[in-house]
Symmetry: C2
Subunit: 154 residues, 2 copies
DNA sequence: TTAAATGCAAAGGGTTTGCACCGGA
DNA sequence: TCCGGTGCAAACCCTTTGCATTTAA
């Protein structure tokens, strides 16, 4: 009883149980990931790790991200700009809504996605992976402000 | 009357009316784009242009794609792998459905997307840009075959 | 002890840019 | 003629890889 442990301890144990190691660099990345809200690119994660430990090297970060993804701790997807993005795997899967005009991003939770997920399942037998969905368009403010999407400039 | 012209002629005229020029390189790219079904990455377009004209250079292709996007002839989005993709702007906007297991891709047409588009509009006031939507998941065959999505490997 | 992990430095791949020359209109 | 386009080559950015060294267990 009382198996409450910090996420650092949890991760450490999961790594060890697989014969993998708990290192200072991995701890740093974990700290950064926990603090990260939403999605972060690999490059950003490297930056943030450097803020904590200036000696951080990209290769270590990327290799650790691979490991963490295998463990299901993080998941990578692709943002509206096509750049690879990581996020701490949320308790609940969610997609993203991205405004092409103001750059704002919102989460699409499972409740909101139910209709979508169900319609693809029923019509196509297609199982949507919500965490990989990014819907681009114009948010309420921008669309009522009559903003255009980028790319139509002179 | 009788304003029917080949798309090459149409494009040529649109370019000229803007003070831009109709060049052999642009013609080559147009030919490639017309032949392209679905989505193509920039790099693929460069390849295909080279097949027609081995002297094709990447910079010209990318610069022309920018011009064509301004004209609304092509549009770029991002595929399931996050790579930038172009497609000839279809008469009808459509999104994409991508199977993470078999790599298959299908179009989501406006009819099918109506529910999605409407629900975001009603709940959020968000105007979805269907051509930027890529929904990832498992297609009927793959999900019934019990395939896993990549990334969960050991 | 010993295999995993790190750090470095270099490679890689697609896209972009600077600049001199070329060529449509 | 004149400005837009082209080609080349180098720059860029992020990510990956090889290899010798370090270090967790």
């Amino acid at each position: 009883m009382m198996s409450s442990a910090s996420s650092a301890e949890q991760l450490r144990d999961r790594l060890r149980s697989r014969g993998l190691r708990w290192t200072p660099q991995r701890r740093t990345l974990l700290v950064v990931l926990e603090a990260a809200q939403g999605h972060v690119t690999g490059a950003e994660l490297v930056e943030r790790c450097r803020a904590i430990d200036p000696a951080t090297t990209p290769s270590t970060v990327y290799r650790t991200l691979d490991v963490l993804e295998d463990l299901g701790i993080v998941q990578h997807g692709h943002g509206a700009d096509g750049r690879e993005e990581f996020h701490v795997r949320p308790e609940q899967e969610h997609g993203h809504l991205h405004c092409a005009a103001c750059g704002g991003t919102w989460e699409i939770d499972e409740r909101e996605a139910t209709t979508i997920v169900n319609s693809f399942r029923e019509e196509r037998g297609f199982e949507v992976d919500l965490s990989h969905v990014t819907v681009v368009g114009l948010c309420r403010e921008c669309s009522s402000a009559g903003n255009q999407q980028p790319g139509s400039s002179a």
